[in-house]
């Protein structure tokens, strides 16, 4: 046990990393791809069942592709839609890893966005380099604090986070309504609840407006890339990430290892809330320029699907967010070109989740895509 050199052959052999097994590959790559294919096929059946004729179905899927990746504008829309989904999805994934089922991204987006707007239209005269980071930071902090309420309730009283975060979502809508009517927030000359506009110095700048002012993609995408890297680092390279994952996988073993459960719960909720708050800030500072009732648009709920589809892995969440962003952008095109209701996209998104959650079903549909499993062997 004492200092031997680590060079003996057995030790070296133990250090070798086995190539990712076929099963892992199937699980991470093939199942999601087939899930998307099956979901699109079932989506076509749904259209058939609602008396859409075959040419229109074909047309709508062509439109789906065109609207998501078919042009520069389509790509811009896909990225714009994906950015908040990935940010909030990362937060949820982090919570899932720590064993917390946080349904509260929606409320954290609302609070984060609201605070970011207020900071964004205040402080006239600040230089861009200070004002924008300040607004983003304020949004993230507000989201973190808001989420910590649920974390604290769980740690101190045992109140389950699913319940408390759902309630906090509802509370956040009322807070938004209330604050938007306050004189220092409400836009001058308006009777409806709508905030002042974010100052130019706090806006996430458009990236492609020099080509066409209508291209909406903005600097938030850099924020997304940064967030993916930071969350990956946090989860897999740091002590706190180790504690998160240990608590999530086996709370008893985590306690035995001396990890403080209550600290982990509050910290994980705060991190998740910070990322959701950032998603809200990203929306108001990059796309909307202001806050109004319902500005969160259900992103916090879609982000749950994104986190699940991405298997709670930062890179997976990135791809899942891009897919959902593409479906959203393409869905709008589908409605325009083929007259198919945009609700179909919701159905397809839901089907993807169903098939991801039931890999056995996917395996049964595509038996040739998978190596025959040696199920049930345990010795």
């Amino acid at each position: 046990m004492t200092d031997q050199t680590a060079s003996d052959p057995l030790t070296q052999k133990l250090l070798e990393r086995a190539a990712p097994s076929r099963a892992e590959f199937e699980d991470l790559v093939i199942v999601p791809i087939f899930a998307v294919i099956v979901a699109l096929a079932v989506g076509a059946l749904v259209m058939l069942a609602t008396a859409v004729d075959l040419p229109t179905i074909g047309q709508s899927y062509v439109a789906l592709v065109r609207g998501s990746v078919g042009s520069l504008n389509a790509l811009s829309e896909t990225l714009t839609a994906a950015a908040p989904l990935v940010l909030a999805g990362l937060g949820l994934a982090l919570g899932f890893r720590a064993g917390l089922f946080n349904i509260g991204a929606e409320g954290q987006i609302v609070i984060g966005g609201l605070v970011a707007v207020i900071v964004g239209f205040s402080f006239a005269g600040l230089p861009w380099a200070i004002h924008l980071p300040l607004a983003l930071f304020a949004g993230a902090l507000a989201g973190a604090l808001y989420a910590s309420i649920a974390g604290w309730l769980r740690a101190a009283t045992g109140a389950h986070e699913v319940i408390t975060t759902i309630m906090l979502n509802l509370i956040s809508y009322r807070i938004l309504d209330y604050v938007l009517r306050q004189p220092f927030v409400q836009r001058e000359g308006r009777a409806d609840p709508i905030s002042r506009s974010v100052l130019d110095s706090a806006q996430l700048p458009g990236l492609l407006t020099w080509i066409d002012p209508n291209l909406r993609v903005h600097a938030g995408v850099f924020l997304v890339v940064l967030a993916v890297i930071v969350v990956y680092w946090l989860l897999f390279r740091t002590k706190v990430g180790f504690e998160f994952r240990a608590s999530g996988k086996n709370p008893d073993a985590a306690r035995y290892a001396g990890i403080r459960a209550s600290f982990i719960i509050v910290a994980a909720m705060a991190c998740a809330g910070a990322l959701a708050g950032l998603a809200g800030a990203n929306q108001v500072l990059g796309v909307l320029d202001r806050a109004s009732p319902g500005f969160s648009a259900g992103i916090g709920f879609d982000a749950i699907s994104v986190a699940l589809l991405g298997r709670s892995h930062p890179v997976g969440v990135l791809f899942a967010g891009l897919l959902f962003g593409a479906l959203e952008a393409g869905g709008r095109q589908m409605q325009v070109d083929a007259g198919v209701s945009v609700d179909l996209i919701g159905i397809i998104q839901a089907l993807i989740i169903v098939f991801i959650a039931a890999p056995l079903l996917v395996r049964a549909i595509f038996p040739w895509g998978f190596r025959k499993s040696e199920a049930g062997r345990n010795e």
């Binding site: 046990m1 390279r237 086996n250 290892a257 001396g258 010795e379």
Partner: protein, 507 residues
Amino acid sequence: MDIELRGITKRFGPVVANAGVDLHVRAGEVLGLLGENGAGKSTLMNVLCGLYAPDEGEIVIDGRPVTFDGPSDAIAAGIGMVHQHFMLVPVFTVAENVILGIEPTGQLDFLDRAAARRQVREIGDQYGLRVDPDALIEELPVGVQQRVEIIKVLFRSADVLILDEPTAVLTPQEVEEFFGIVRALRDAGKAIIFITHKLDEILEISDRITVLRGGRVAGQGDPETLTTRQLAEMMVGRPVSFDVEKAAYAPGDVLLEVRELTVLRNNDEIAVDDVSLAVRSGEIVGIAGVQGNGQTALIEAITGLRHPAGGSIIYDGRDITHSSVRARHAMGIAHIPEDRQRTGIIGDFTIAENMVLNSYYDDRYASGPSIRWPEVMQHAARYAADFDVRTPSVHAKAFQLSGGNQQKLVVARELTRDTKLLIAAQPTRGLDVGSVEYIHKRIVEARDEGDGVLIMSSELDEIVALSDRIVVMFKGRIVAEFDAFRGPVDRNAVGLAMAGSVSEAAA
């Protein structure tokens, strides 16, 4: 009914789990099937149950070859398996569990509960399996739940019963009762395959013994003439030492002192009642006792997982009664937890991650907020090699290891830290002979190097083999103490004390 497996070979990819195994069971006899974890016992039985189709070989029932396309074929042929982990619905009654899947129905397909209860009672009377058909499973002790599993199999008219590690979950008294049931079944003409890795039991209950090693039949024999030593050698493939070699008893200062400790269970019952106990460095103190007499709570209190209701714990001159788990780790207390699956390892984590489960924050492995994974990997690989954790790589997930290797992983993690006191709860439960021997050797080494060791085990053999001093816990109190370093202890006296008969237990 006679059943014969001829030349059964079963491969999983490159792994050969069974290689040309022959097995023969006759009606009215108990065949003991012995083998280490991973020897191929479970695979063989799963072939017999129709869960796996063999790659080669055949199953012959009463002289006729049969093929099973699934478990239902095997059940129809009269083969029933009682699994190690029970498959019962906790919120159902005994009768409901027994009939589940083949419910007797009356008119209009209504469930005939009365018939179910009657049949359960009849089977119980016939074989001495006394169970109240209306009791809820979740309210029954484990030993009774096992009877329900057997009734389930009998209810499906099984003539061949496969009992997979049936005694692993039972207390010594329950084991005796259980053997009575097995004999009754045998005398009623059932063929029984009794799977275990406990040598004493197999000698006691079997009429014939077959030993598997590495997927092959390593030996067969008659329990009348075989000794445990011979059996162990067949099972492991080399001579096994049951005697633990220890250096002379030379205890140092008192390292751990528990003073008048009282600990409550979650339901506020008293688990540990005014217990005082001391462990010196360089000695092994064994806590004997039937499970559920407060040992678990005592260990939890000493390791910081449960707050004591009264009393104090002094370690190395400091009062640690209210110290955190982590502080105790840092002071050099190592803890091999009672339930390795639940608390000792994280199955989804890699071996390397599990190896640093309670030391990842240490300066060796961490710098600032981040963990230095290359360092972790180097150490984990070295420890795994040193402690004979058999795995292809430290990147493998812990759940892929066998129970024995999981436990060696835990032992490696705890003993490679800079420790002064080792607390080991059930350190070898459910392990095969080879692993037990190895872990015992390591624990004794820690003691010989001057560590204090506190062992808790429900296996008296283990306590007697390892301990310098033995204390017996009964109903939350220490009822007897024995000095084992003076010479062999009177096992009978320890056993009596474990059963609560205090008066004559003294040393």
